[in-house]
Amino acid sequence: MTAHVVNVGADLLAEAVSAQAVEVTRVDWRPPMPGTEGDLATLAVDPIRRDANVRALAALLRTTAQLVDVAPASEVLGLQRGEFLHAGPPIEWAMASGPLRGALMGGAALEDLVADPEDAVALFESGTSVWLEPCHHRSTVGPMAGVVTPSMWMFVLEDPATGRRTHCSLNEGLGKVLRYGAYGPEVLTRLRWMSEVLGPLLQKAVRTTVEDTGPVDVTGILTQMLQMGDEAHNRNRAGTLMILRDLGPAMVTSGADPRDIAAGLKFVGGNDHFFLNLAMPACKLALDAARGTTGSTIVVAMSRNGTEFGIQTAGTGDEWFTGPAQVADGLYLGDYGPDDANPDIGDSAITETAGIGGFAMATAPAIVRLVGGSVPDALATTRRMHEITLGENPRWSVPALEFQGVPSGIDVTRICRTGILPQINTGMAGRLAGVGQVGAGLVTPPAEIFPKALARLAELARDRGESHLRGFALPPG
């Protein structure tokens, strides 16, 4: 006995079934994004799509992340003098936005490539002896401008099952900080202290902890913090205190100057976003496990460089699909307003890509106002994201939604079919280099990048020699 009818299309037909006292689910179907019908049809019948997505999602969900080391980028990434990593898809100085330029200028001064950050403009304009590369291309993620230079200390996260590693710099705190494009003396002073004092202190603490009790389970902390009101993008308070709890004893017994230990404990404990730089590489580690799955339509990276928003999918290798980054909608600090905000920037949307951040908004009611929303909005947002994802994360659950797992495995085809765009929680950087943070809010990717990725996925499906798919390249409309 069929117990349930799912109706997609004419409501009259649902009514006719409902009148027979049969339970009917009514799909609120709407036309797909313009021009995507043919590619959606191609991918719907791509014989490897379903299995590829199952495998990609399973790889993403089974990956765990452990904090195994803290060390300079020059060591763990082999970053050379003059090499700069940055957030988002590839970009040249000429196209770089204010906050990215500011962070690069500060980074150049930090590495003593120039004496004054302002002098770095000429250096980057000349393009000689400096090289820009996306963090994502080096198994790394960086929040906001995401600038990484050789002397910066990095968290090293490892998947215990495969030994794969990802990296992220240490979080500087809020306000006037390099990642928001500020490069004043206080910014550089803090960064130097982080390299000289905090980095070595954390290295000792992590290495001691690894020896004594084993690596720190970052995925496990994420599991807990999601039940404590953090969504791990714009709120990381519980996670930060848990990492401090895990590393604190080894910091205290490190043998370092007690004043440095106290400063380190105070800095970590006083920076509510400290854990973000652990959440991000943990998410990247999981998503990278899905990378390179031929035929999979799952998104494995969403990232912005302040000018463009780019995505990568599991089935399209390292190709970026880009469009103009949007300005977030949210609340501003002090006197700042929309005119002061730079378009969306940072690799931190890796959290949403993995199903947390804006996707887990329902679990973080404490910050819904920070990003300009309400609690019902937050619940609705997480539920809406389930429409564009293929599964739920059994580790990361949302108490307010009856412990439903966070929406995981963003599917390009679902986005194109529904027009629902991924919801991202984000900080806002000032438009001009040197300003720093001006606010926080909600943003979505530019819609057009998803049909672009879809078209490439469909092209690859047709190229795989499935001759019966070739007839599916319908003209749009």
Binding site: A3, V5, N7, A10, V27, G471
Partner: protein
Amino acid sequence: MSSDGLTHVELRPGAYADSVTLLQVSRTVQGIAGVTAAQVAMGTTLNLEVLTQMGFAVPPEATPNDMVLALHLDDAEGLDQALAGVDAALLAVNRPAAGPRDLAPPRTTATGLRGVTDGIVLVSVPGANAMVEAMDALDAGCDVMVFSDNVPVEQEVELKRVASGRGLLVMGPDCGTAVVDGIGLGFANVVQPGPVGIVAASGTGCQQLLALLDHADVGVTSALGVGGRDLSTAVGGVSTLAALHRLDADPGVELVVMVSKPPAETVAEKVRSRASELSTPVEFALLGPGQPDLTAAAESVLARLGRAVPQWQVVAPTTPLTAGAGRWLRGLFVGGTLCDEAMLIAATRLGPVHSNIPLDSNLALDPHRPLPGKHTMVDFGDDALTAGRAHPLIDPSLRLEHLAQVAADDETAVILLDVVLGHGAEPDPASALARMIGSARRPVVVAVVGTRADPQDLAQQVRLLADAGAEVHLSNAGATRRAIDLIGQP
């Protein structure tokens, strides 16, 4: 029921709730203090019988469109409270439960199927989008009925290839009618369960069979539509074969009937050959020149089941029909297979019949232009006439416009119409037709395809048409022959 106390019966015209809901309401009202008997029901024939048996005197004007509220109370003082209780109960059942129902609805078939284990999916989105939704159903391990038309044939082939590999069934595309496990999907008639299983490559052909078998008191457990193109060489009968095997595996099915518009001969051969290997006998009703019509097929089914063939009902108007002065038969159909069947019958008696769905491409006509001086039959359900508007089973306006034209045309000899009832069809198709029939001054013969339990009330629809002056048949073939007989009569 005690004769003491107070009996209250009232009709609420226009109020409607489904029978399950009203059974719940009745039970609630029966629990109100002072109420000794209560029945709230729609005024169908069956319900009126029940009410009469309970001792309620139901007003004779009650129709199935009226809600009947019948109460017996200990005394008159309880009436207001009881009536308030009825209203409260009706309100309560119509209020959606809190919780998940407040959520935004799913946006794709895939998300609609989350948590559904034994669902069936009904797809009626535009043809270019239908396959994507249907594939969601197959990916979730569910059968799917694709009501949508204009689905590219290569997508149909691919969808059915995938379904076949997974042991699933794709009904359609362009599948208008199915009955699955007793649930009517699309335009389906309300039938009793019974020994017959139908595989239908034709929606209204299936409905004619359902209706005729219902009149013969033979039930149908499943009627699996396969879509009008399934028996084409391009598709190769994939769903037909899958449906035949489904029904063969159902112990409740004693006889399978395969109904189709004229199929591709090679595919028909393959299907016949595979059908002969099944343990359940298969009766073929494949329309075509020289083949039995649907009514003859229904009679064969009854004979194989050892059931009596009833007299197919004909309701004549008070004034018997006589031929007019015109020359041409004008068939105006909402059912494509009914149109096909009528053309096949008419062609043997009258010669060529021109149509927008002609039996021979030389006989094609453009339905947007004035009808030629020939015998004509127009299928208003054809894709070309439904683009941008609902199917004529839902939106009768286009056929009504044409009816007005042929009714006013002196060249018209006889008008032949079909009226298709059942789930999904408009609630009262006969009324609008009756108004035009009444002023037509041409003989009008109507085939009414419906069952006794259909929501439109078959008997009333027939009565409206006959009262307006039409001769009403339950058999489309019978109606067609009668219309032909009326041409050239003095």
